[in-house]
Structure formats: C-alpha cells, structure tokens
C-alpha cells in the first residue's frame, strides 16, 4: 500500500516538474542547481580528499623531488644534485645493495613457503574434520597479532625456547645460535612470517576450495580418478584465480616487511638481515640523510608499483578468459 502511494507521488512530482524544465525562467534555476550540486559534491568528497591529498599525495610528490636533492633535514638549503643519489646507491652503498638483494631473496622464499603452507592448511581444513573450526581459529590466530609483537614472541622462542628444546631432544637444529648467525637469522624471519601469513592465505584458499562444485569431483571419482588426479585436474584449476590473488598479496607484503624485521633481529647480526624498508628507515631517521633515503624510497616505490601493475594486468586477463 505505502509503496503504491509512494509511486504515485513520484509520478505526480515528476509531472509537476516537467513544465519547469522548458520554461525560460528555469535557466537561473538550473544554474543555481548546478552550483548547489558542485557544493554538495565538495561537501561529501572534500574532507576525505583533503586529508588524502595532505597526507599521501603531497608528501609523495615532494618526496620524489627530494630524491634528486641533498636534503638532510637540518640545514635549510636544499640543492638539486640530479642523479647523484642514485649513482651513489648503485655504486657505493653496499648496504643498500645487500638489503635489496636480501629483500628479493626473502620475498621469493616467503611467497613460496607461505602459499604452500597456506594451501596445505586450507586442504586440511576443507576436510570434514570434527575440529575444523577450532583449527581454523588456531591457524589464523598469529595473523591477528601485529608483526612487532610476533617478532618479540619469537625472539624469546629463538633465544630461550629453542635452547631448551635442543637440550631436551638433542636435535642440533635447535642448538644453533638462531638470531646470532647471518644464515639462521634470515630463516628466523622467514619462519615468523610464514607462521603469521599462512593463516591469512589459508582463509582465501579455503573460500576458493568451498566454491569447487562437488558434483564434478563426484563424477570424476566415479570415473575412477585418484585423489591426486582430482586435486591436480579439478581442484587446482578451480582455485587458480585464488592462487594469483594470494601470490601477489604475499609478494607485496613480503617485499614491504618491516615490523618483524625490526623486532626480531633489528637488522642484525651486523646489519646482515636489514631488509629494504628497514634500510630506508635507518637512512632517513638514524643517519638523517633524507635525500638518499628518498632516492631509496623512490626505487622501493617503483618496484612495488611494478608488481601491482603486473598483478592487475594478469587478473584482468584472467577475467576476460573466464
């Protein structure tokens, strides 16, 4: 009933407005309506855009400019040095080069392991287990806690926990000085980030696995397909889009790692585990060399942006194909 009367109102109102549009009087009316609309637009979009421009856009573009200067933040005069900062980074700054290579190595290892573990956990949880809900919570739990706290938790595990497990079991792996050695400290960071990231990736794979139509799986089984064949030829292709999403999620989060790096090893021992984000931070806020820090940040941005552009183009292509 009320719907009906509303509709009538709409109709009658529309008809009443009709003659106004054609009348000559309506020109100033239209104009003020336009101004009103623009004002409304500014009122709705303005606050968010203003904060966004002030906090993100302007600092980003001034940052790009500073990458080509010798700005140190203390003295007032900032002079243009062209590509000197970049030349310095690629020829002299060994720490930067090492951090860069280390971050790439870490990213490669972390995405493979996080995705394998995450997918494996999703496969487990997707079975009709009695404890599946509890297990899902357990696997996801580390993801909830910020990287900083996780790094501290594992600092204790690597220093005291492993030592104790090593004594109890005699396994030499646990008796290594995990955070005190270049190689094992790197793997320490990998372990913590896989522990943190796998549960998140698991949730996405789980959602994809639940969308695999069961009748196809049943049909394949009746036709005599083995479990592995079902996984290889039905499940895997069906979750392929989720794989793309997860790969890129882990690439960009691994490449930007900072919190775990800071709290677990703080780049140590002897700066051997200092990843790119931490290296930029140190350059800027410890060494106070803003110009060089900005040059690093610009390279960092370009890599992240390139990853994202590739990601978007691949997912778009996939959408077209399907």
């Amino acid at each position: 009933m009320s719907n009906h009367s509303k509709l009538e109102k709409v109709n009658s109102a529309a008809f009443q407005n009709q003659p106004n549009v054609n009348a000559s009087r309506s020109v100033p009316f239209m104009k003020s309506k336009k101004v009103k609309k623009a004002g409304l637009f500014a009122l709705f979009v303005g606050p968010a855009f203003l904060a966004f421009a002030m906090i993100v856009l302007i600092p980003f573009f001034t940052g790009v400019y500073y990458a080509f200067t010798d700005w140190n933040g203390v003295t007032g005069n900032v002079s243009w040095v062209g590509l000197d900062n970049f030349k310095y980074l690629f020829t002299e700054d060994k720490q930067f080069q090492q951090s860069f290579m280390l971050t790439i190595k870490y990213t490669a290892v972390a995405i493979i392991l996080t995705n394998i573990v995450g997918f494996g956990l999703a496969l487990l949880i997707s079975q009709m287990l009695k404890t599946r809900n509890i297990l899902r919570t357990v696997f996801f739990l580390p993801n909830l806690i910020g990287g900083l706290l996780l790094g501290f938790i594992w600092q204790f595990i690597f220093i005291k926990g492993f030592e104790s497990i090593g004594k109890l079991t005699g396994i030499s792996l646990f008796q290594l000085p995990w955070l005190g050695d270049e190689q094992t400290a790197f793997w320490g960071i990998v372990i913590v980030s896989v522990w943190q990231g796998a549960g998140y990736i698991m949730l996405i794979y789980l959602a994809a696995l639940q969308n695999v139509p069961q009748d196809i799986v049943e049909a394949a089984k009746i036709d005599g397909a083995s479990r592995f064949q079902v996984l290889r030829h039905i499940t895997m292709p069906m979750v392929a889009p989720a794989v793309t999403i997860c790969l890129f999620l882990t690439i960009s989060s691994s490449f930007k790692i900072f919190d775990v790096n800071l709290s677990l090893t703080n780049g140590g021992p002897f700066k051997s585990t200092e990843m790119l984000a931490l290296n930029i931070y140190t350059e800027a806020f410890v060494n106070n060399r803003y110009g060089i820090g900005e040059a690093k940040a610009l390279i960092f941005f370009l890599v992240v942006a390139a990853i994202t552009v590739i990601q978007v183009s691949i997912t778009k292509k996939k959408e077209v194909e399907s």
Binding site: V10, A13, F41, F44, V45, P47, A48, F52, M54, I55, I58, P59, F60, G63, Y66, L121, L124, I125, S126, Q127, M128, L129, K130, I134, R136, V138, F139, P142, L144, G146, L148, L149, F152, I153, Q155, F156, K160, I165, W195, Y200, L203, L206, A207, L209, Q214, A242, I245, K256, F258, D259, S263, A277, Y281, A284, G293, E294, L298, F300, F301, A305
Partner: protein, 275 residues
C-alpha cells in the same frame, strides 16, 4: 570435501591437530614463562611453571602504564574508524552517484595511491607534519590514518554502493528529504555489512601499527600499545619474566576482539582481500 567420516579422515584429523599444536607452541612458551620466576625461566624453559608468579603481571601492568597506553590505543583506533567511516562512505557515495569525469578521476587517484608504500611518504610527511602541528597529537595521528586509510575504505564502499539501486533515494528526494538526510537515513543503514568489514580491517591495521605512531607520537604519555611494548621489551630483555608478561598483556585485547567478532573478522578478511 569428504562427506563420510572414514578412517582416513581420522588420520588427517590427527595430523591437522598436530600441526595446530605446532602453531600454538610459541604461545605456550610465552604464556607459561610469563608466570615463572627469572631463575625458573633460565633452567626450565619448556616446563610448566611450578608456582604461578602473578606479580610479574602486576609489575608489567604498572611499568607499561598499561591503562594509559590501552586508552591511547583505543582512542586512536576508535577515532580513526569514526572519521574513516563517516568521510569515506560519504565520499564514495558521492563518487558513485555523480556520473561525471571528475568522479572517475578522483576515484582512480584514491585507488592508484594504494600502491604507494608508507616508506615513500614518511620522510616529507613527518617533516611537514611538524609545521602543521600534527606531531605529538593523537588527533594529528587520526587525521593521518584518515589520509592513509581513505584509499582502501573508499574502494570498498565504492564497490558496495554501486550495487545499491538508486530508486529508493530518488523517492526520498521527491518526498523532500535533504541530500544529507538521504545519505544518513536511507543509504548509510544499507551499508552496514561493508561498514563492518571496513571497521575490522582498519581496526586491526591501526591497532597493530607501529611505524607511523612511533614517528608521530614522541611524547611517552601518548604511546600506544605497540609503541609501549617496543620500549618495554627493549628495556627488559634481560628480565624475561617482565618482558613476557608485558607481551601477553599487549596481546590480550586483540584476542578478546577476535573471539568476540570471529565470524565478522573471517568474513571481512576474505571479502576484503578478493577485490
């Protein structure tokens, strides 16, 4: 995937539980050792505490200034959520409903800027924030979170609002409802599912964020939980019992938040990631 609980499922279940226990081991170590004396930690790291040392928690609670840092974290997280939800839902709504080129340009700018990593912004941001009076102020930090969170938040709202039919709003306008009234009384209540997702994603990010608050809030009285934990852990690394009790105190609010909103969190995270 299986419909029957077979012997094979049972074996899988055992394996899954064992992996689950491995995932929980770090929590076991941290919690059990946070209740031991220092000597006990050194000699019996893996064992359960013989006598529960609750005073570790009392001390950590006081030295962390826990009530204050918890309140700071809460104010910042809630404040940022409120401004993000209000201004970004409004902006996204207007950008969807105004079919002009400018809407598209603004929206694409928000989305494209999501690519920019924080490290590429932080140096000029912190340098100019000082001039704008945004340093050492919780409200300054809230404004920064509005800036940083707006891309993702507008993106999520934008996608959701596109699916809402415009007819309802037109009827309300003709009934004499003001544009603000239309948005807040008619559109905003319809956005509830995405508002919950936005709130969860932003809360987890802001609550756990360390780097931005560490650069903005230099005054110890303004420290958030991650900041206070950072300084506390650095100060007491030789006193594990206090460091660990402080660590557990920092984790508790997150765990409570998670268990009270588990369903929404898991749904929000899966829908938020698949853009």
């Amino acid at each position: 995937m299986e419909n029957k609980y077979t012997g094979r499922t049972f074996i899988v279940e055992i394996i899954a539980i064992l992996i689950g226990l491995v995932f929980l081991v770090p929590f076991y170590y941290v919690i059990s050792n946070s209740l031991k004396t220092f000597a006990d930690i050194l000699t019996n790291t893996s064992a359960l505490p013989s006598v529960l040392q609750w005073q570790n928690y009392v001390q950590a609670f006081e030295r962390l200034d826990y009530l204050r840092v918890f309140t700071n974290s809460l104010i910042i997280t809630v404040g940022s959520n409120v401004v993000l939800i209000i201004f970004c839902s409004m902006a996204a709504y207007m950008l969807v409903r105004t079919k002009k080129k400018i809407s598209n340009i603004i929206f694409m700018t928000f989305v494209a800027a999501m690519v920019i990593p924080f490290q590429s912004i932080m140096i000029p941001l912190i340098k100019t924030a000082g001039n704008l009076g945004l340093l050492n102020s919780m409200w300054g930090l809230v404004i920064m979170y509005l800036g940083f969170g707006s891309g993702m938040t507008i993106f999520l709202y934008h996608g959701f609002i596109k699916g809402i039919p415009v007819e309802l709003e037109e009827a309300a306008i003709i009934d004499g409802c003001s544009p603000f009234g239309v948005f807040w009384r008619i559109v905003f209540p319809l956005l509830k599912p995405i508002t919950v997702t936005v709130m969860i994603l932003n809360s987890l990010w802001i609550w756990n964020d360390y780097l931005l608050p560490s650069l903005v809030l230099q005054d110890p009285a303004l420290r958030t939980i991650p900041l206070a934990t950072f300084f506390f852990f650095g100060q007491y690394t030789k006193q594990w019992e206090l460091a660990l009790a402080g660590l557990v105190l920092s984790i508790i609010p997150l765990v409570i938040f998670f268990f009270s909103m588990q369903k929404h969190i898991i749904k929000g995270i899966t829908s938020g990631s698949i853009k």
